[in-house]
């Protein structure tokens, strides 16, 4: 739906990426473009392919077809180098380290990353109220999430891949994590890809959006372009009025008597002009909050 801006450099791109698990299509003809320095929210239902996509970028899953470039490298050839430059919060808990106390796990993690900053790790651990003496296997989902966030951030990687980072966190911890992420972004200017099915939780920091449906990227755009192009229009007209016949880019149409509401991807002036020309009075033109925009894009059958 969107072409990249000229001169944009990308931290992550995929080209015609495809992955199947048996007969199940996980990713299909996927062209992901994450600009350098962006906070790219990957939205979609559970099972849409978000986690698989992130795992392909880390070369934890091998794609069946297509090209992948992460920070200028091909993860299939340079998996270890790519992973060393990524902070990753996986979907589920770490397996195999359950017996380790948290402090030991962090120390174990640190040796893999030359840029690990022990002071920063300690500061993050304090802010997230992590107790180093607890065993990993005894942690709740939310506590394990906090430890994973420390391991992802403490080496200040140029790329963060966060798979449902707020999953399992209580509201206070979620708020704390968002604050830490904002500061981390200000300090590092790193690129972030954050997958979530709860878009409103990351709405404040997101500046790019990709919408995944059944393994396909049905929309990919900057927030600015989304705000400019996707709007709802509410208008009323004379008896029997059905609106303009030539309205393109309609994602949703709702009618109540002589009042009709459209959600349209298009130029506002042109849309309003067409509604007025067909005899309607436009009452309201509104932007959509990010989560509603995602819902609309996920539901619409024909995308512009």
């Amino acid at each position: 739906m969107d072409s990249p801006l000229d001169g944009t450099t990308f931290a992550v791109t995929t080209r015609a990426l495809a992955k199947r698990f048996g007969r199940q299509t996980a990713l299909d003809a996927l062209d992901l473009q994450v600009p350098k320095g962006a906070v790219y929210v990957l939205a979609g239902a559970n099972g849409a392919g978000k986690s698989t996509l992130l795992r392909v970028l880390l070369n934890l899953v091998r794609p069946d077809a297509g090209g992948v470039e992460v920070l200028g490298l091909d993860p299939c050839r340079s998996g270890a180098q790519v992973r060393a430059r990524i902070g990753y919060v996986p979907e589920g808990p770490e397996s195999g380290c359950g017996w380790m106390p948290v402090g030991r796990f962090l120390a174990h993690h640190a040796v893999y990353f030359p840029t690990w900053d022990p002071d920063y790790a300690a500061r993050l651990s304090r802010a997230l109220e992590i107790r180093p003496e607890r065993r990993l296997s005894h942690l709740s989902k939310g506590q394990a999430r906090r430890v994973q966030l420390v391991t992802a951030l403490a080496h200040r990687p140029p790329l963060l891949l966060l798979d449902e980072p707020t999953d399992g966190l209580d509201p206070v911890a979620r708020d704390e994590v968002l604050g830490l992420l904002s500061e981390h972004l200000a300090d590092t200017g790193c690129t972030v890809v954050v997958s979530t099915h709860l878009v409103h939780e990351v709405e404040r920091i997101a500046d790019h959006l990709g919408v995944l449906r059944a393994g396909r990227l049905v929309a990919q755009t900057s927030r600015d372009r989304l705000a400019a192009m996707l709007r709802t229009y509410r208008a009323e007209g004379p008896d029997g009025w059905v609106g303009p016949p030539d309205l393109s880019g309609v994602l949703q149409r709702r009618g109540h008597g002589r009042e009709i509401q459209w959600t349209v991807w298009g130029d506002e002036r042109e849309v309003v002009e067409r509604i007025v020309r067909s005899g309607g009075t436009v009452r309201d033109v509104a932007r959509l909050p990010l989560d509603e925009a995602v819902l609309t894009l996920l539901r619409s059958k024909d995308l512009p």
Binding site: L178, G179, L180, S182, D187, E203, R204, I205, P289
Partner: protein, 131 residues
């Protein structure tokens, strides 16, 4: 200055931050040569993308409301009076009220009349602002 934003509002967050700085000038909680919070600090406090705060500060600098002292931060510029900022805020309030009125099928005259009547019945607490 205490910056409050509402992400659910349709207005972009950077515009809301700009208005909050202007509001602080108009009500007098910020005055010339006062420092603004750092981009990092305000982004962390509001839990927003630091680029959004930086964009607000950039726009305010372009409009001459603030200036940047290299290595020290962003400061309120001395422009003599805050009339201009009050005018810009008032215009924003008016535009939002007009849009809301139009949405409800209310014309400009009806809106103005209703504002005067509402202000009259609210008494002195709100009127002192303008006198």
């Amino acid at each position: 200055m205490n910056v409050v934003i509402n992400p659910a509002e349709a207005r972009p967050i950077y515009l809301q931050i700009m208005d909050e700085v202007r509001r602080a000038l108009v009500v007098g909680t910020l005055t010339s040569e006062d420092p603004l919070p750092s981009v990092r600090h305000l982004a962390g406090e509001l839990r927003v993308n630091p680029n959004t705060v930086a964009q607000a500060y950039r726009e305010l600098e372009r409009e001459g409301v603030v200036y940047v002292r290299r290595g020290q931060g962003t400061f309120i510029a001395d422009r003599g009076s805050v009339d201009l900022d009050r005018g810009i805020l008032a215009r924003g309030v008016a535009e939002r009220a007009l849009l809301d009125a139009h949405r409800h099928g209310i014309g400009v005259d009806d809106l103005l009349g209703a504002i005067r009547r509402a202000a009259g019945s609210q008494g002195d607490s709100m009127r002192t602002e303008t006198e």
